[in-house]
């Protein structure tokens, strides 16, 4: 009576070991010293042989179709690539034109957390600074320079009508000119 060289465990008609060996053989991974045991098993086990035949049949049938990329697909692709390049160039140029404030930069999460932590520590650990002296802020004074032109001539002497000098009991009346000249 035939006894399988593969221990029956797991799923499959003859256990997992036979199936694994069969698959490894199909993939060219079964060591040559284990191959005679597999062939002996295949000769005796119909279920495994049918599985083996099915995979070989599938392999033959799948080789019948030769798939090539149609030339029109290449043309389409290079057109798409050209459009893509033109678009990328436009985006690059617009990024260059952006101001520093608007520009996006990739910052790692770790760096962002470190900076935030550093700022927090600096805020907590720094001694409180003395309050600055209070200063009264004066409202600004607006002034305009006014140019005044003075007339370059002497005023004519003014003639006073009379000067009254009062002494006790005596009144003197006399005519007098401005500038103290009599």
């Amino acid at each position: 009576m035939y006894t399988s060289p593969f221990p029956a465990y797991g799923a499959g008609p003859c256990g997992g070991a036979a199936e694994e060996a069969l698959n490894l053989y199909l993939d060219g991974e079964l060591p040559s010293e284990q191959q005679p045991a597999l062939f002996a098993h295949l000769a005796a086990c119909e279920a495994c042989r049918r599985r083996f035949d099915a995979v070989l049949k599938f392999r033959r049938m799948s080789r019948l179709e030769y798939l090539t990329v149609p030339p029109s697909v290449d043309d389409d692709f290079f057109e798409r690539l050209a459009r893509h390049r033109a678009f990328a160039l436009r985006v690059d140029r617009s990024a260059e034109r952006r101001s520093l404030w608007q520009r996006r930069a990739v910052v790692s999460f770790r760096a962002a957390v470190l900076v935030a932590l550093l700022l927090f520590l600096v805020g907590v650990l720094l001694p409180e600074a003395p309050a600055p002296p209070r200063t009264v802020v004066m409202p600004p004074v607006h002034g305009e320079e006014e140019r005044i032109e003075f007339a370059d001539f002497e005023l004519p002497p003014r003639r006073l009508e009379a000067v009254y000098v009062f002494y006790p009991g005596l009144t003197i009346e006399a005519t007098q000119t401005a500038g103290g000249e009599n």
């Binding site: 698959n23 049918r50 599985r51």
Partner: protein
């Protein structure tokens, strides 16, 4: 003269557009074939293939010289395909079991035309879940190693092996009735002693 991927990537990163065209010409076929088999729709696959290479062009700075460019490329293509499948699934719910495998079940697979066999393969793939379909396509059509498939699907090596085994099991379950027909409706042969 064959220039390796790393040299082309380096040239592309320094602004050599011809290097990008070389990478495109080298990988457009495999990426297109992968997309066609994942989406089972050529028009959609063409669009996804173009989108994949546009993303490569956009992300040239992120190209890893140490890693496999092929795996990175297929990762982008795979993500695009899964997005498309999700979108498609939202529009028209997929009911793979409702799709008949054979248009004319009386004709055995061995006597089918080439185009009919191709269609049959597509129907098998259509029945598989995207998880299984992607590993099967990456292995059977693209010959990616287990490590590369793990990198593309962002999974472990053991997960890739497991999914590949399960995908083949499902595939065999779909195929066995067709193989029975191909054998001329003959009863299953008893196991050899």
């Amino acid at each position: 003269m064959h220039v390796d991927d790393n040299a082309l990537i380096e040239a592309f990163q320094t602004g050599d557009e011809f290097a990008f065209v070389s990478l495109y010409n080298r990988y457009k076929g495999p990426v297109y074939a992968f997309c066609v088999k994942m989406l089972l729709d050529r028009t959609l696959a063409q669009d996804v293939m173009q989108e994949t290479f546009l993303r490569v062009y956009e992300n040239r700075d992120r190209l890893m010289k140490s890693g496999s460019f092929k795996a990175w490329l297929f990762t982008i293509a795979r993500n695009q395909c899964l997005n498309q499948l999700r979108r498609k699934h939202r529009q028209v719910p997929l009911e793979p079991d409702a799709v008949p495998l054979l248009r004319s079940p009386d004709v055995p697979a061995a006597h089918m035309e080439k185009s009919e066999q191709v269609e049959l393969v597509n129907r098998f793939l259509e029945r598989l879940k995207p998880d299984y379909r992607e590993v099967l396509i990456l292995r059977e059509y693209q010959n990616l190693s287990y490590e590369e498939i793990a990198a593309v699907t962002r999974s472990t090596l053991s997960a890739v092996k497991s999914r590949l085994f399960k995908a083949r099991r499902k595939l065999a379950d779909f195929m066995e009735p067709v193989l029975d027909q191909a054998a001329g409706e003959s009863p299953r042969t008893p196991p050899a002693a």
